[in-house]
């Protein structure tokens, strides 16, 4: 359940990336244009989402320990 909720964040973020409402907004925030500040914030939001994916939805079944030696030689 948690896993699906976190997966759902990805398409939501993708939609939020298209910030049409700031397209022609020339406001400055701390000296930077708001259209740039928004996307810097977006990078932090992406990092947070990845944090959730990694800590709450990690694919544990993928781990292969050294003991599990390659079963076949590639050819």
């Amino acid at each position: 359940m948690t896993r699906k909720l976190i997966y759902a964040l990805l398409p939501v973020l993708y939609l939020l990336h298209n910030d049409l409402w700031l397209w022609n907004d020339a406001t400055l925030i701390a000296g930077l244009p708001v259209g740039l500040v928004y996307h810097i914030g977006f990078c932090f939001a992406a990092s947070l989402t990845l944090y959730l994916l990694v800590t709450r939805a990690w694919p544990t079944h993928l781990e292969v320990l050294d003991a599990d030696t390659p079963e076949t030689e590639p050819s």
Binding site: L10, L13, Y14, H17, N18, D19, L20, L22, W23, N24, D25, A26, L28, A30, G31, L32, P33, G35, L36, H39, I40, F42, C43, F44, A46, S47, T49, L50, Y51, L53, V54, W58, P59, H61, L62, E63, V64, L65, D68, P70, E71, T72, E73, P74, S75
Partner: protein
């Protein structure tokens, strides 16, 4: 002075490359994938450094000079979401299969996944063809930048030669471990030097707020998206960073991780690394209008070099040159090694030795191919036209268009070799079609509406994969079960 700093920097790069050789175990698996022993820090630096080309430092500021702050949303912030997501869903799975089955190259995986030599052979040709322009751009950008920074003291051919010789030395000698160590060093160098250059130049322009306000007064259109970037372009440009799912050099770096968990920290930090490199590049490109108001077309790519020259010559110029070299070499080395690995494993080992090849032979052939590929690349770079830089985005388009293939291989049991071949065929046909239509047009989009060709090709490639797979007989369960292990 500048030349002295560059010489010291290149000597340091070689030293790091040689230092890594102390851990060399003499086997093919060690040479090509560092015995799958790389930890989180080196993995992050390798993945990020390989993906950040000189384009991120120089090209991004040039683009921002013309199109304004929207370049950050278009090329950087979307990558901050898409690239680590691809690593999460695809990279970890590729790593797991690689470790389980001992794969060293992409072609080995796809060939066995669909039990088809034809898929392997076709993919090999397509991947190599798409990677060649990318290699050429790296060598040419290195030479061009060095000649600009030194005001022609170092001619272009010498700069390109320096890049090739240094990369050849540490990649041949150190294999993937050498490449990963040098990448880590170079990635730190260009990130830190980018920050220093930003701080010094913005300080000289009277601080960030003053500089932005000055540009805003004369060029208000650069501080908004406005007409510079179409909304449909922002929407469809998302497809471009999907290319990391099919880059041979990314595939190679994924395989080097020690454990699946090694990916965790790099995934979280990747978006922040992107912001750290791209924000300064984009802002410097925009404020470049203050000192250099009338740069036309490709001349804008030198805006950063010109600003350094004006505001912080000598030491900083030398350091910037080192930073650009770092960005160029940290991509070129992985790409050359991945091509060398593919020739050794997928051609010589598979066809020449039918899978039987001693460890010594593998290392020998790996080194020979790295040297040969760099030599050929250097020679072609000397006779190529400058317009080859426009091929860069087409190289990305091609790799991104192959994305449905890796998704089908990893997630769709019912996909067949005919589906894969049809998908690759679709990419080749449509990519060639769009290339012939769009390559002379700067900023070409489908119908001029902002739709990137890559979005159309991906949809068509996915459709061919699905339709042809369903129309052909299902793959044998024995083959499929190897690649979809039951969850414990």
């Amino acid at each position: 002075m500048i030349l002295g700093i560059i010489a010291v920097y290149l000597a340091m790069v070689l030293f790091v490359g040689f230092a890594s050789h102390r851990l060399f175990r003499g086997t093919g698996e060690d040479y090509f994938v560092a015995s799958r022993s790389i930890g989180p820090f080196l993995l992050l630096m390798s993945l990020f450094g390989t993906n950040m080309t000189a384009f991120a430092i120089l090209g991004a500021s040039g683009e921002a000079y013309h199109a304004g702050i929207g370049v950050f949303a278009l090329m950087a912030s979307i990558s901050a979401l898409v690239i680590p997501s691809v690593f999460f869903f695809i990279g970890t799975r590729v790593w797991s299969l690689g470790k389980r089955h001992g794969f060293i190259t992409q072609v080995q995986y796809f060939r066995q996944r669909w039990d088809s030599d034809a898929v392997g052979a076709v993919l090999f040709v397509v991947l190599i063809a798409l990677l060649i322009p990318y290699l050429l751009i790296g060598v040419m950008a290195g030479g061009l930048t060095l000649s600009q920074i030194t005001k022609g003291q170092v001619p272009e051919w010498t700069g390109g030669l320096l890049v090739c010789v240094v990369v050849m030395t540490y990649v041949c000698y150190g294999g993937l471990r050498g490449t990963a160590w040098v990448n880590a060093f170079q990635t730190m160098v260009f990130t830190i030097l980018g920050g220093v250059a930003f701080w010094v130049i913005i300080g000289q322009l009277g601080g960030l707020e003053t500089a932005i306000a000055t540009v805003g007064a004369s060029h208000p259109e650069l501080l908004i998206r406005g007409e510079n970037i179409k909304p449909l372009k922002l929407l469809t440009y998302t497809c471009i960073p999907l290319s990391v799912g099919m880059f041979p050099h990314m595939f190679m770096h994924w395989l080097t991780a020690q454990r699946a968990e090694t990916f965790r920290v790099p995934l979280i930090l990747y978006p922040l690394c992107i912001a750290a490199v791209w924000v300064p590049s984009v802002i410097l490109g925009v404020v470049g209008h203050i000192d250099f108001p009338n740069l036309a077309g490709p001349a804008a790519n030198s805006v950063l070099v010109r600003m350094i020259d004006l505001h912080a010559p000598e030491v900083l110029a030398g350091l910037l040159a080192a930073g650009v070299f770092a960005a160029v070499m940290s991509s070129l080395d992985s790409q050359v090694l991945s091509v060398g690995t593919m020739f050794t494993q997928d051609v010589v080992r598979h066809y020449g030795f039918h899978g039987r090849m001693s460890e010594r032979q593998q290392v020998f052939w790996g080194r020979a191919f790295v040297a040969l590929i760099l030599t050929i690349t250097y020679i072609i770079a000397q006779v190529s036209q400058r317009s080859i830089f426009q091929l860069g985005v087409w190289s990305f388009t091609g790799f991104a268009s192959l994305f449905p293939i890796v998704v089908a291989a990893l997630f769709w049991r019912r996909s067949t070799k005919y589906g894969a071949l049809a998908s690759i065929g679709t990419v080749v046909v449509l990519w060639t079609y769009f290339l012939t239509r769009g390559w002379q047009v700067r900023g070409y989009t489908v119908g001029g509406e902002g739709i990137m060709p890559v979005a159309v090709i991906i949809l068509a490639a996915a459709a061919s994969m699905i339709v042809v797979s369903l129309a052909t007989s299902p793959p044998s369960p024995g083959v499929v079960d190897r690649f979809f292990p039951a969850r414990k």
